[in-house]
C-alpha cells in the first residue's frame, strides 16, 4: 500500500517536472518568435523608406544609376527573401548598398542640404541602430533557446515534441565587406 502511494507520488512528480520543462521550452520559443517579429517590423520600415530615399537622390544625382539600381535591387531581394539565413544575407546586402548610396550622396552639396533627404537620413540611421539592437536581442534569445533544448532533462522533451534549434540572424561572412569603406565613383 505504502509502496503504491510512493510510486504514484514519484510518477506525479515526474509528470509535474515534465510539464514544467515543456512549458519553459514553449516560453523560450515564443521569446524567439517575438524577437524576430520585432526585427521584422524594423526591417520592413527600412524597406518602406528605400523608394523615398531613391527618389530623393535621383532628383539630384540621376546619373548615379549603378548605385541607385543596386539599392533598388537589394531592397527587392530583401523583401522576397525566404528563410532567416537568406533574409539576413539580403538585408545585409541592403545595408551595404544603402551605405554606398549615402557615401555617394556626400559628393552632392545640394542633396545634402535638402530637408527631405536630411530627414530620411536621420530616420535611416535611427532604424539601423534599432535593427542592430533588435538583432542582438534576437540572437541572445536564440542562443538561450538553443542551449535550453540541448540540456539534459529538456533534450528528451525537445526530441519528443519537436523543438528544433533555430538559426541566428547573423551578419556572417559579409561582415568584412561591410566594414571596408565603400568606394566613391565619379562617373
Amino acid at each position: 500500500m505504502l509502496a503504491l502511494v510512493i510510486l504514484i507520488a514519484i510518477v506525479v512528480l515526474i509528470g509535474i517536472l515534465f510539464i514544467g520543462a515543456y512549458n519553459r521550452l514553449v516560453a523560450l520559443r515564443q521569446n524567439v518568435n517575438e524577437a524576430f517579429a520585432d526585427i521584422d517590423v524594423q526591417l520592413k520600415q527600412r524597406q518602406d523608406l528605400v523608394p523615398n530615399l531613391v527618389e530623393t537622390v535621383k532628383g539630384y544625382a540621376a546619373h548615379e544609376r549603378g548605385t541607385l539600381d543596386e539599392v533598388t535591387q537589394a531592397r527587392a531581394a530583401a523583401a522576397n527573401a525566404g528563410n532567416i539565413e537568406q533574409r539576413a544575407q539580403a538585408e545585409n546586402a541592403l545595408t551595404g548598398a544603402l551605405g554606398r548610396l549615402m557615401a555617394v550622396a556626400e559628393a552632392y552639396p545640394d542633396l545634402k542640404a535638402n530637408q527631405n533627404f536630411l530627414q530620411l537620413q536621420g530616420e535611416l540611421s535611427d532604424l539601423e541602430n534599432k535593427i542592430a539592437a533588435a538583432r542582438r536581442f534576437f540572437n541572445n534569445a536564440v542562443g538561450e533557446y538553443n542551449a535550453s533544448i540541448q540540456r539534459f532533462p529538456a533534450v528528451l522533451i525537445a526530441g519528443m515534441t519537436g523543438f528544433a534549434s533555430r538559426d541566428f540572424f547573423d551578419v556572417g561572412p559579409d561582415r568584412a565587406a561591410l566594414q571596408t569603406a565603400p568606394q566613391v565613383k565619379f562617373s
Partner: protein, 363 residues
C-alpha cells in the same frame, strides 16, 4: 538551473525571491521557538518532561502559537494594503503628467503598454534635478510610474524608454505587492524585537522573580540574542528580495525594449545622481538607490556595476559610455544641474556650487 540567457535569468531570480519570501514565516516561527525554549530553560514555563523533552514542548507550543501569528500578519497586511497607496501619494508630492505636457515620455510609456496589452499606468513627475524613478500601486487601476524632472531632461529617447520599461516591469511583476508583504513581515519581527527590549528595559519580567529567582537572567539573555539575530535577518532578507526584484526589472526592461545598451547607458547616467530623500521603506521602490549599507547586505539596490555586468552577461548588452546630453539642449542657464553637462574637475557645476533641487517632497 543555470541562467542561459535573459529569460532563464528572470526565472532564476523569481525563484530566489520566492525562497527568500518563504524565509520570513520560517524566521518568525524560529524566533517563537527559541523564545519558548528560553522560557522553559529559565523555568518560566513548566519543564518539558511531560511532552518528552524541552525541545518537543517548545515545538508544540510554537505550533499552537502559529495560527495567532498568521492572524496578526493577515490583519496587518489588510491595513497596510489600504493605507499604502494613500501614504505614497501623500509622501511623494508628485504631479500627474499629461500627453500635452510631456508628449515624449507619455508616448514612450503608452507604446510600451500597448506592446504588452496592458492599461497604461498614470505617469507622474517629481520636480527635482536628481535622476530617479519608481513604480507604485497595489492593484489594477492604481498603478503609476513616477519619474523625476532630471530624468526627463537628461535622457535620450531610448534611455528614457529603458527607464520606463524598468518601472513597467515592476508593475507587471507586481513587485510593489511583494515588497509590501516583505515590509509587513519585517515590521512584525521588528515589533517583536522592540517588545522584547522594552520588557527587559522596564523589568516587567521582574514580577516572576518571586517564583523562580535567578533564572530570569537566562531568559533575558536568550531573548536578547534571538531578538538581535531575528532583527538583522529580517532586514537582510527584505533587502535581498528588493535586490533580486531590481535585477528582474532590468532584464524585463530589456525584454520590453529589446535594447540592452540603452538600459546600461541609463544606469550609467543616473549613477551618482539618484539621490532622493525618502524613508528606507520607500527607497526600495526607486530605480536606483546609492545607499550601499554594510557590505551591500542592507542595500535596497545592487551596485550599478553588478546590474551592468548582469545585463552584459545575460542580455547581450554592450557597455558604452553615455553620450553628452542628448535632449536637444535646453539652454544651460535653465538647468545648470542637468548633471551630464561637463562638470568642472571637482565635480561641481559651471557655477561653482552644487545647486540643490527644490526641497525634496520628503524634506
Amino acid at each position: 538551473m543555470p541562467a542561459l540567457g535573459l529569460q532563464t535569468y528572470i526565472w532564476n531570480n523569481n525563484i530566489r525571491s520566492a525562497i527568500l519570501l518563504v524565509g520570513f514565516p520560517i524566521l518568525l516561527l524560529g524566533m517563537v521557538f527559541f523564545l519558548t525554549l528560553g522560557m522553559i530553560w529559565a523555568g518560566m514555563l513548566p519543564p518539558g518532561a511531560y511532552y518528552g523533552g524541552d525541545v518537543a514542548e517548545a515545538l508544540s507550543l510554537m505550533w499552537s502559537a502559529a495560527p495567532l501569528a498568521i492572524a496578526v500578519a493577515v490583519v496587518w497586511f489588510v491595513i497596510a494594503y489600504f493605507f499604502n497607496q494613500a501614504i505614497i501619494d501623500f509622501a511623494t508630492g508628485s504631479q500627474p503628467l499629461t500627453r500635452e505636457a510631456e508628449p515624449r515620455a507619455y508616448n514612450l510609456l503608452e507604446n510600451l503598454c500597448i506592446s504588452r496589452g496592458m492599461t497604461m499606468p498614470t505617469l507622474r513627475v517629481i520636480e527635482t534635478d536628481e535622476m530617479n524613478a519608481f513604480a507604485s500601486g497595489l492593484h489594477e487601476g492604481r498603478f503609476s510610474v513616477t519619474v523625476t524632472r532630471g530624468i526627463l531632461e537628461a535622457m535620450s529617447d531610448d534611455e528614457l524608454e529603458a527607464v520606463l520599461g524598468h518601472e513597467l516591469s515592476h508593475i507587471i511583476n507586481r513587485d510593489v505587492r511583494t515588497m509590501v508583504i516583505a515590509s509587513i513581515f519585517a515590521g512584525i519581527i521588528t515589533l517583536m524585537c522592540q517588545i522584547i527590549y522594552r520588557s527587559i528595559m522596564w523589568g516587567s519580567f521582574g514580577g516572576m522573580r518571586g517564583r523562580r529567582s535567578g533564572n530570569v537572567g537566562i531568559f533575558m539573555l536568550v531573548a536578547l540574542v534571538v531578538g538581535a539575530i531575528g532583527y538583522v535577518l529580517a532586514i537582510v532578507i527584505r533587502m535581498a528580495i528588493s535586490r533580486t526584484r531590481e535585477y528582474v526589472a532590468d532584464a524585463g526592461s530589456v525584454q520590453l525594449t529589446k535594447n540592452p545598451d540603452a538600459m546600461i547607458r541609463a544606469l550609467r547616467r543616473i549613477s551618482g545622481h539618484a539621490h532622493l530623500d525618502a524613508p528606507q521603506s520607500m527607497r526600495a521602490m526607486f530605480l536606483e538607490d546609492d545607499d550601499e549599507g554594510v557590505m551591500g547586505l542592507f542595500a535596497t539596490h545592487p551596485p550599478v556595476e553588478k546590474r551592468v555586468a548582469a545585463l552584459m552577461q545575460y542580455g547581450g548588452g554592450r557597455d558604452v559610455a553615455p553620450e553628452p546630453p542628448p535632449r536637444s539642449a535646453p539652454p544651460p542657464s535653465l538647468s545648470p544641474q542637468t548633471s551630464e553637462a561637463p562638470l568642472s574637475p571637482d565635480g561641481q557645476g559651471p557655477w561653482g556650487q552644487r545647486r540643490d533641487g527644490p526641497p525634496g517632497p520628503w524634506g
